[in-house]
């Protein structure tokens, strides 16, 4: 009897020791005795490398802060109905917080209001949402990034010349806002002529084919603005294949690794980044800080970084090796 008891005690002690060893990394940075916070991070799809960088950034923050990160992304890229279902499922599973990007900033409002009603805090990143309660919004905005990279392009063209706009998915709000920024920049340079604006659906193959068609009509193209890098790399390839490489300056957005490689090799002029990796890292950090009762700024704006030949090297490396942003520094840079 006694023996049994002592054996049980040993077992219990062993289990506790084992448990504390297993849980030790997770318990870092939070009060003992609590189970680690569990956050769900939403992304728009599993296909675009931008969202992969987001997931990597979120995972890094999860590891650094000792919280569990789970991911949710529609298998049909940017699918509203599927993301709605995923949010509803996650409300039932009651995570400690939602770190959320809407595939459509309007369509998801009623669904996110349900999250509000369920009392689960939410941090929105990358695409701004109105009419929902949120801890904070982390991101830049598509109009600014479209504006900044277009200005960079036109300045490199010497403030004049002929330009083409390759659009994303026409219905996507990101594409519409990037186009708005593009048009705003264009207005500042009356000597720049917009030759055409055609859709490449954010994808490389359609962008290549559309651009091949446009090259037939326009023997001289000085600059091309593409709504993302996937298309910009495609356009650069098409120019190269047609023997017109180097004469036309191509810019994109997102600074994906092969975009950065194209910039380094001179096929592309530049790209612009509002780092998905950094956004996600900061969004997760903001949520954890909020859950631990700290004050978090109402909005965390990230500066747009122009990626050109000088600094592109950093963007060619895998996201896993990217340095993480420093919370204190970013917060200090905020206006509010």
């Amino acid at each position: 009897m006694n023996q049994l008891k002592s054996r049980r005690r040993v077992l219990a002690a062993g289990a506790a020791a084992l448990g504390s060893v297993l849980l030790a990394p997770a318990a870092l940075g939070q009060t003992a005795g609590q189970k680690p916070l569990r956050l769900v991070v939403f992304t728009k799809n599993l296909t675009n490398p931008f969202w992969n960088a987001v997931r990597v950034g979120a995972d890094k923050a999860g590891k650094d802060l000792g919280v569990t990160i789970e991911h949710a992304a529609p298998t049909k890229p940017d699918n509203i109905e599927e993301q709605t279902r995923q949010v509803e499922d996650w409300i039932v599973r009651k995570p400690d917080g939602f770190v959320f990007v809407p595939v459509d900033y309007k369509a998801l409002v009623p669904t996110i209001q349900k999250v509000n009603k369920a009392g689960i805090p939410i941090v929105v990143f990358n695409n701004r949402m109105t009419d929902v309660e949120q801890v904070t919004y982390v991101g830049s905005d598509d109009e600014t990034i479209g504006y900044e990279i277009t200005r960079h392009l036109i300045q490199a063209m010497g403030g004049k010349g002929k330009i083409i706009h390759i659009d994303g998915v026409p219905a996507a709000i990101t594409a519409q806002n990037r186009k708005k920024g593009f048009e705003r920049a264009l207005k500042e340079f009356p000597q720049v002529e917009l030759l055409a604006s055609q859709p490449g659906n954010y994808r490389r193959l359609p962008a290549v084919q559309v651009f091949e068609n446009l090259m037939q009509r326009f023997p001289q193209i000085d600059g091309v603005f593409c709504a993302n890098d996937d298309m910009a790399v495609g356009v650069a390839e098409a120019l190269e294949a047609a023997g017109r490489g180097g004469k036309t300056k191509v810019v994109g957005i997102d600074a994906i690794p092969d975009g950065a490689a194209a910039i380094l090799s001179g096929k592309m002029l530049a790209s612009a980044d509002f780092s998905g990796h950094d956004q996600a890292y900061l969004a997760v950090t903001a949520m954890v800080r909020h859950l631990r009762g700290e004050r978090v700024p109402k909005e965390i704006a990230l500066p747009v970084v122009i990626v050109d030949r000088q600094n592109a090297k950093t963007w060619t490396m895998p996201v896993a090796e990217k340095p993480v942003p420093q919370w204190a520094k970013v917060v200090a840079a905020q206006k509010n």
């Binding site: 490398p49 969202w51 026409p170 859709p199 068609n213 446009l214 009509r217 790399v233 294949a241 092969d258």
Partner: protein, 334 residues
């Protein structure tokens, strides 16, 4: 010489009236589009642009070719885009590390495996093709996502890129590949037992079975071919754009079906052919080329495309029936 010149009218005369209607309308549509675009844009009817259109149509044709065979049997393969993506990504991962031949073999093998699986599901488990290949669509997408983990593979060997981006003289390599494929599939459809089997199964599967045809074996072969050709199309695509990502092929399924329909192949099987798919692919490429050259607003393009497909299929249904009825009424050959 006269024999050759007589071959075409004789071929046309042998066609039933509604098929004749399809051939005539497609030829007319093609000529009309070329004429209209030549009038509207001075940049259209140039050697450069026509080569450009041919190259884009070739890619479309290579993807739609296998699908045409499946549709001729009265089936459908909704997995072509997804299988293209999976094979392309598997192949790309090997090709980028220098194993070009191995990569090509792996891609084709993956396509073959998916196609065989489709064929088995349809014939052995008797799952309707629409459902079986729809399931395969998601399985292939899923495997691609898992395999790629959201990354992009880019920067392929120059030799490999020839198939997508190279030229032989002024002719783009994909055009030559498409021409060879057209020839092979034409012979397969019209001069082999399998080809006759495909039309027979599409026309009347019960009769085909009763006549002692190895229907299941033919069907499995056809789905396998569709998978392999999707994989081949995938290789051409990644050679052309010099990158493979998990979304490769996602947007290609509807265009692939559209090219077959535009080519006048009946979705109910048994009627149409590989020549039609060339015409369908050309019409698709021409319409997109035209919209780009004319700078048609981004918002109208998708709708315009859908409308053209609907009109063409509707014209076949109504027009073909009328013509048939008229011929019957006169007591002529149906």
């Amino acid at each position: 010489m006269t024999q050759g010149m007589l071959a075409l009218p004789r071929f046309l005369a042998r066609l039933p009236a509604d098929r004749l209607f399809v051939v005539v309308t497609r030829a007319t549509a093609l000529v009309a589009i070329v004429l209209v675009l030549s009038l509207l844009s001075p940049h259209f009817f140039t050697f450069q642009n026509l080569m450009n259109v041919l190259r884009q149509a070739s890619l479309q044709f290579i993807l739609s070719a296998g699908l045409t065979l499946v549709i001729l049997t009265g089936g459908i393969d909704l997995s072509v885009g997804a299988v293209l993506g999976l094979s392309a990504c598997l192949g790309a991962s090997l090709i980028v590390s220098g194993h070009v031949a191995l990569g090509i073999a792996a891609a084709l093998a993956a396509g073959l495996a998916c196609g065989l699986a489709n064929g088995m599901l349809v014939t052995q488990l008797r799952i309707p093709a629409f459902i079986a290949t729809y399931g395969m669509l998601w399985i292939a997408h899923g495997l691609t996502y898992v395999f790629m983990k959201g990354e992009v593979i880019h920067g392929f060997d120059k030799g490999f890129r020839f198939i997508g981006a190279g030229h032989v003289g002024p002719i783009p390599a994909p055009v030559i590949a498409a021409a060879i494929l057209l020839g092979l599939l034409y012979v397969l459809l019209h001069h082999t037992r399998l080809g006759r089997g495909i039309y027979a199964i599409g026309g009347n599967p019960v009769a085909a079975r009763l006549s002692g045809m190895p229907v299941n074996r033919y069907l499995i072969t056809v789905y396998a071919l569709s998978g392999v050709l999707a994989a081949f199309a995938g290789l051409v695509v990644i050679a052309r754009v010099n990158a493979a990502d998990p979304g490769t092929g996602e947007e290609l399924l509807l265009a692939a079906i559209a090219a077959v329909c535009l080519g006048g192949t009946s979705l109910f099987g048994g009627q149409g052919g590989i020549g039609g798919t060339i015409v369908g692919s050309l019409i698709l490429a021409l319409v997109i080329n035209g919209m780009n050259l004319l700078n048609v607003s981004t918002f109208w393009q998708a709708g315009g495309m859908g409308l053209i497909v609907l009109v063409s299929v509707f014209a076949d249904q109504v027009g073909g029936r009328r013509v048939n009825a008229a011929v019957h009424h006169r007591g002529g050959k149906p």
